[in-house]
């Protein structure tokens, strides 16, 4: 899931102006006429099939292979950028600029720019969960960082959160069902006041609280008849959750140890320079060692930034995903529990049998829908997870190889210079 990596496509999740789309894929900025055509055509096309009218290039074909979904051209591009601090009399908060570019017909325009705060993202997530209780909704970054945070809004925290929010929206955009959710569209397009008024519609706080209470109550009753396939999935989720949490801790720890190592190395190198000041004969050798250590420091810094770009956010996202998954399983169980309790009531003739039978019929449908949705989404999620994990760790290994190659080059060049010097000295002696 997520955005198209690398070359062909736009939207690096970085600061500054959002990248332009590749000219031959979709040129929103420069070719309005074509856009009109695309918009109209998009409304006629079955969203799940590949449109022959969309121009494709070999590169965009390659990019399509990286989509986890059907080979459909991506038509919704989202960036989260430019965090800004807002100070009011009651509170301070950060907003993020959300830029959407799309060719879809149901959108009034092809480009939108709105500002959203974390609360708004939370709202969106809640709505998606309500609408699709057994779909796997992408996770949001945590509300607060648990430990080590003095300043709630320090730069690292904001940047990490920005990247995670960017990921969140893109995962929704890539999801075959969630991408067409109405609240999602409102989130991406509505101006601030529009969003506020939209939020006020829909089930109120009390209704939702009531639902939560019922949900908790039913989950406490336990699920007696969870089907075998969901037992398997649940088992996987439990173990996966354990392991990914451990991997998260290990990865964070490695990063920390490496940073401490870098700090010491930064002190280590210059001592050799200091020493060379009192020496005459060994000066070059000492300076050479200092240079090597400095180059290793640079390589370490690069390695660290690589880790924090690729591995750490992915692993952490999947830690949050594992909580999401457990929540999804619970909700499925609840839906089933509702059915089970009605069936039980029917067996013991607790209430009007006709009414019960009708209710049971509806609930059976509900359960079947929920189960199918979950099963399909589970397969999709699992596939994505494997791809993401594989690519993240492959990148890490690549970074490590590169790191050691850089250090090796530094030390080998030093060694060569020393042996060359030796040869020079010997030939001088012979003269």
């Amino acid at each position: 899931a997520g955005e198209i990596p690398g070359g062909g496509a736009p939207l690096p999740g970085s600061r500054g102006s959002p990248g332009l789309l590749r000219v031959d894929v979709l040129d929103l900025d420069e070719d309005e006429d074509d856009l009109e055509v695309f918009s109209k055509d998009a409304s006629l096309i079955d969203m799940n099939s590949f449109s022959p009218m969309m121009p494709t290039s070999p590169l965009s074909m390659i990019n399509q292979v990286k989509f986890e979904d059907e080979p459909e051209l991506k038509d919704l591009f989202i960036t989260v950028d430019e965090p800004e601090s807002h100070v009011t009399t009651i509170e301070t908060f950060i907003t993020y600029k959300v830029i959407t570019k799309t060719s879809r017909g149901e959108f009034d325009s092809s480009e939108f720019e709105v500002r959203r705060r974390y609360q708004d993202f939370l709202w969106l997530k809640g709505k998606l969960e309500d609408a699709h209780p057994t779909l796997i909704i992408p996770p949001l970054p945590e509300k607060f960082i648990v430990k080590g945070m003095v300043e709630r809004f320090n730069d690292d925290f904001i940047e990490t959160r920005r990247k995670a929010l960017h990921k969140f929206l893109n995962r929704i955009a890539d999801h075959p069902t969630l991408t067409f959710n109405e609240d999602f569209k409102v989130f991406l397009t509505a101006q601030a006041w529009e969003l506020s008024s939209h939020k006020k519609q829909g089930p109120g706080l009390l209704t939702r609280m009531g639902q939560t209470v019922r949900a908790v109550a039913s989950s406490m009753r336990g699920v007696k008849n969870r089907p075998e396939e969901f037992m398997e999935i649940n088992n996987f989720i439990e173990i996966f959750s354990q392991k990914i949490n451990l991997i998260d801790k290990i990865s964070q720890r490695i990063y920390k140890e490496e940073r401490d190592y870098l700090d010491e190395m930064k002190e280590y190198g210059p001592i050799h320079i200091l020493w060379s000041a009192s020496e005459e004969d060994v000066v070059d050798t000492l300076k050479g060692v200092a240079t090597c250590i400095e180059q290793c420091c640079k390589a370490t810094e690069k390695w660290m930034s690589g880790l924090s770009e690729s591995l750490l956010p992915i692993v952490h996202e999947y830690v949050l995903y594992s909580d999401t998954l457990m929540g999804v399983m619970k909700r499925r169980d609840q839906i089933q529990a509702e059915l089970d309790s009605k069936v039980e009531a029917l067996t013991y003739k607790k209430a009007d049998t006709d009414l019960l039978t009708e209710e049971i019929g509806k609930l059976e449908d509900k359960v079947e829908c929920a189960n199918n949705a979950l099963k399909a989404d589970w397969e999709r999620w699992k596939q994505n997870m494997q791809n993401d994990i594989k690519s993240a760790f492959t990148d890490v290994a690549e970074e490590n190889v590169h790191y050691y190659e850089q250090c090796l080059a530094a030390w080998e060049s030093f060694l060569t210079s020393q042996t060359d010097l030796n040869l020079e000295e010997h030939s001088e002696d012979k003269l």
């Binding site: 173990i239 290990i250 010491e264 002190e267 060692v289 494997q386």
Partner: protein, 450 residues
């Protein structure tokens, strides 16, 4: 004052053919007679001097270390480590070596030997011993003297010390050193009989005293400053290196956890399982590779430590010069004042203060006979003083000449050794990088096949 040049009785004669280089050199000997088969000798001076030439090439090794228990001076039980010193003579013709001597010594005996050398060769930069206690440790190394790794590194350090002494053109000829290698029993008594202990105490006291010397040889002052700088910078380097090692250890070892977790995770995965499992194995290999890497680095640290301690020995030679110079200046000052006193007495003018003069003023003049007597005494003292000054001057110049020669020798050795050590450090880093590349390339393959 201590002797300037080595007591002929303590030297084996004649000098070796050529001064030697690094510590792994073997001791070259002049032609002579029965050196081999010469068992434990008594301390009879001349017989020793005549018979004990280092006849053939000698190899010295400290080959083993053994834990022992015994009773100490206060009759309390103690545990200590004893080291086996083996001396071999190497036949020129066929290169075969024959074990000529083998005995056990403990660290305190090495210390005794070194203290003896310090006293009798004040103009020599005496090689240092390996550290008494483990310092600059990082968390893995134990600071326990009985720890096998520490004992092993100490064994190597002691061997290095003996090789350094054996390859020093002057120290190698010392009788006590020879006996250290060849006479197990009674050696301690022999050393103590030289009476060096008394001199050792006064030497230490003098070296630590503060005094202002007016005209030291500038070169020695410079070298003294250099030795201070060297000590300071090497200590700093060793401290930070230990911290770097500690951190590096942490980075590698945490990766070992990946191995375990990947393995457990692979149990629930179908397609990804094999890749995870094999990648995990490589993480284990990576994590365990750090142990050997840091063990090697420890030897590098030991090489630097040797020069940290050498800096102290260098400083001591400079201080000795300052002491001698100060002593000379004091003697000259004393002589000058006596001469002045004498002159005043002779001419009747009083320019300098003297107690006698004051009391004379207060209690009455002295008789001419008394004055004559005093002049005579002073003249005798002046004579004596001039003799002493002359010999002190000579001693001082001899010392400067010999000490400077050894300092030059030391400088060359130091430059060679440090360069070699730094290069070997680079070689270690290269090896570490290559291992890293291999492990992560393997891991990458496993990941990409998942």
């Amino acid at each position: 004052m201590e002797q300037l040049s080595p007591d002929p009785e303590r030297q084996l004669q004649p000098a070796p053919q050529e001064p030697l280089g690094g510590p792994d050199a073997v001791l070259e000997a002049a032609a002579g007679e029965e050196a081999e088969g010469a068992g434990p000798q008594d301390s009879g001076g001349d017989a020793m001097a005549e018979n004990n030439f280092w006849l053939k090439k000698i190899e010295i090794s400290v080959s083993e270390a053994e834990k022992r228990t015994g009773r100490n001076a206060m009759n309390m039980q103690e545990t200590y480590t004893a080291y086996l010193i083996e001396t071999r003579s190497v036949e020129h013709a066929d290169g075969q070596s024959v074990l000529t001597d083998s005995l056990w010594r403990r660290y305190s005996e090495f210390e005794l030997l070194r203290n003896y050398l310090l006293v009798y060769y004040p103009h020599i930069v005496v090689p240092p011993l390996p550290e008494k206690r483990a310092e600059f440790v990082w968390h893995k190394l134990s600071a326990d003297n009985m720890d096998p790794d520490f004992v092993e590194r100490r064994r190597i350090g002691l061997e290095n010390f003996l090789l350094r002494v054996a390859s020093h053109p002057i120290l190698c000829r010392d009788k006590i050193f020879y006996l250290f290698l060849t006479q197990e029993g009674n050696w301690k008594e022999t050393v103590n009989e030289t009476g060096f202990q008394l001199k050792a105490d006064s030497r230490l006291k003098a070296l630590n005293a503060t005094f202002r010397v007016k005209n030291p040889d500038k070169r020695f002052t410079e070298i003294k400053h250099y030795s201070d700088e060297l000590q300071s910078v090497i200590s700093h380097l060793l401290r930070v290196r230990a911290r770097v090692a500690d951190r590096l250890y942490g980075v590698y070892k945490v990766h070992g956890n990946y191995g375990r977790v990947f393995s457990e995770w692979s149990a629930i995965e179908k397609e990804m399982g094999d890749g995870l499992q094999s990648a995990g194995h490589h993480m284990d290999v990576y994590a365990s590779s750090i142990d050997d890497i840091l063990e090697d680095e420890e030897h590098y640290a030991d090489q630097l430590k040797e020069y940290l301690f050498y800096a102290e020995a260098l400083r001591a030679v400079c201080r000795k010069h300052e002491l001698m110079q100060y002593d000379l200046e004091m003697a000259a000052q004393d002589l000058a004042s006596k001469k002045q006193q004498c002159e005043e007495l002779a001419t009747g003018t009083v320019r300098t203060f003297s107690l006698k003069g004051m009391t004379t003023k207060l209690f009455g003049q002295e008789t001419p006979e008394q004055r004559e007597a005093r002049i005579k005494v002073l003249e005798e003292q002046i004579n004596e003083g001039e003799q002493q000054l002359k010999s002190k001057n000579l001693e001082g110049r001899e010392f400067v000449k010999n000490a400077w020669a050894d300092i030059e020798r030391f400088k060359d050795q130091k430059n060679r050794d440090l360069k070699e050590a730094l290069i070997s450090y680079a070689v270690m880093q290269i090896s570490m990088c290559k291992k890293g590349i291999q492990v992560w390339t393997n891991a990458k393959e496993c990941f990409s096949k998942m």
